[in-house]
Symmetry: C2
Subunit: 287 residues, 2 copies
Amino acid sequence: MIQTMQQISTIEELRVQIKAARLQGKTIGFVPTMGFLHEGHLSLVKAAREKCDLVVMSIFVNPLQFGPNEDFERYPRDIERDSQMAAGAGVDLLFTPSVEEMYPRPILTTVSVANVTTPLCGASRPGHFDGVSTVVLKLFSIVQPDYAFFGQKDAQQVAVVTQMVNDLSVPVEVIPCPIVREADGLAMSSRNVYLSAEEREQALVLSQSLRQAAAWLEEGLPLEQIKARIRQMIADKPLAEIDYVEILRYPDLQPVETELPGQAIIVALAVRFGKTRLIDNLIAAIR
Amino acid sequence: MIQTMQQISTIEELRVQIKAARLQGKTIGFVPTMGFLHEGHLSLVKAAREKCDLVVMSIFVNPLQFGPNEDFERYPRDIERDSQMAAGAGVDLLFTPSVEEMYPRPILTTVSVANVTTPLCGASRPGHFDGVSTVVLKLFSIVQPDYAFFGQKDAQQVAVVTQMVNDLSVPVEVIPCPIVREADGLAMSSRNVYLSAEEREQALVLSQSLRQAAAWLEEGLPLEQIKARIRQMIADKPLAEIDYVEILRYPDLQPVETELPGQAIIVALAVRFGKTRLIDNLIAAIR
């Protein structure tokens, strides 16, 4: 089937297209991204393509979700390449608004989610999840999708968006999709491009320690011991600097009070290599 | 025309009705209220009736927008009477969810609007407008109206909701409607029922001082002098206790830095009579 993708950069034009699709009774799948696409993003498009009549992808590097000392300015961008990849993967509408289009005046409205934003990246990156929930709600208002597809690499983001959608009765179903990895195990990320060859090599410790954690969980090791062992594995890599190593209840991301068999948990890592901060996680259950 | 109103108390049931109306291409008008209806509310229904194919009214006394020492518990409720009045005014769908239906679990998501919420009732009632913007966004998500009708008595609420809708690109047009008054000038309010006969009499000072303010503005009196005269008028009423008397730029509710002719302003009052807090306002321009 020949698919002709339309690239749209204004909210008004997108609304016209969405309205037309709605009138034809089409279901709308939405893949919000910050661009610099990789196989992880394309797996979300594939899931949307299978479930929905119209697939909308947004590419917007959202300044609200970057801290003052973070990488908003240098975040990798390549809209030409992204556009080709999106078209190839079956995106129907590619929404690429400018910052001025999304925030024509300073935005005074903030959407905040409590509790699930407290630990992990919420603790390391103050304000980050306010920026995420605010822009996602705005994108949902513009695209009005039936389904929205998010990668589980950003597991906390999935938890935050799901909580927001439930709390505010937003008429969209959030569909989390599995982490996509390079052949050697490194979780796909637009930020991987920052890594030097040496950092790239040592960064394998994230996926390797999570694979070990899965085995240790199988063996029934206590969670504190698993955390200590992961920390040790990462500390053995000279270029690695731990931001956090946490094991929390899933999906509410609260501390595991008692280790009940069957309890769903997330093993979540954030590690810096030079200026690059990588995250990865494993969702599992206590034996 | 015989109008049969449907009363609905669950989100799911309302969604079914809204979806059916949408499929028939109907435009949807929405009048969110806390019930204990009066002519002010009915004027909103009238405006919605004239502009839209389907008129949805919600009645929900929203605990989020009441402070711990405010009147949530004793806020007047009379769903039987409200239902009859709504049907008589031409409401098609009356949405009357319980607190449990709206907030089945503690809500973790908050929608906050900065700046316009800082002065006036935002200063007197901390957290009030977070409760308002959060519930209004949730109701908008449920009802998905084309137009939403709000009374200008709550002028700051209109400003907050308009700002939120613009910031988040919510696909709804906010329609402010004029204040409706009793024959003697008292602005209609569900809280007027709290007033004793004596308080009710003295409460006329709100509308009277605003009428005076309009005349003083016509005469070109400086704003500070107008504020002082209003304060004096209110202070002359022994049962009145001023919460605030403010003149601000409209609609952004910021201080008037320089008194430019033609500048739109709001004269806003909040006055307590015993346990009852009344508000009223005038929107005008500097001469």
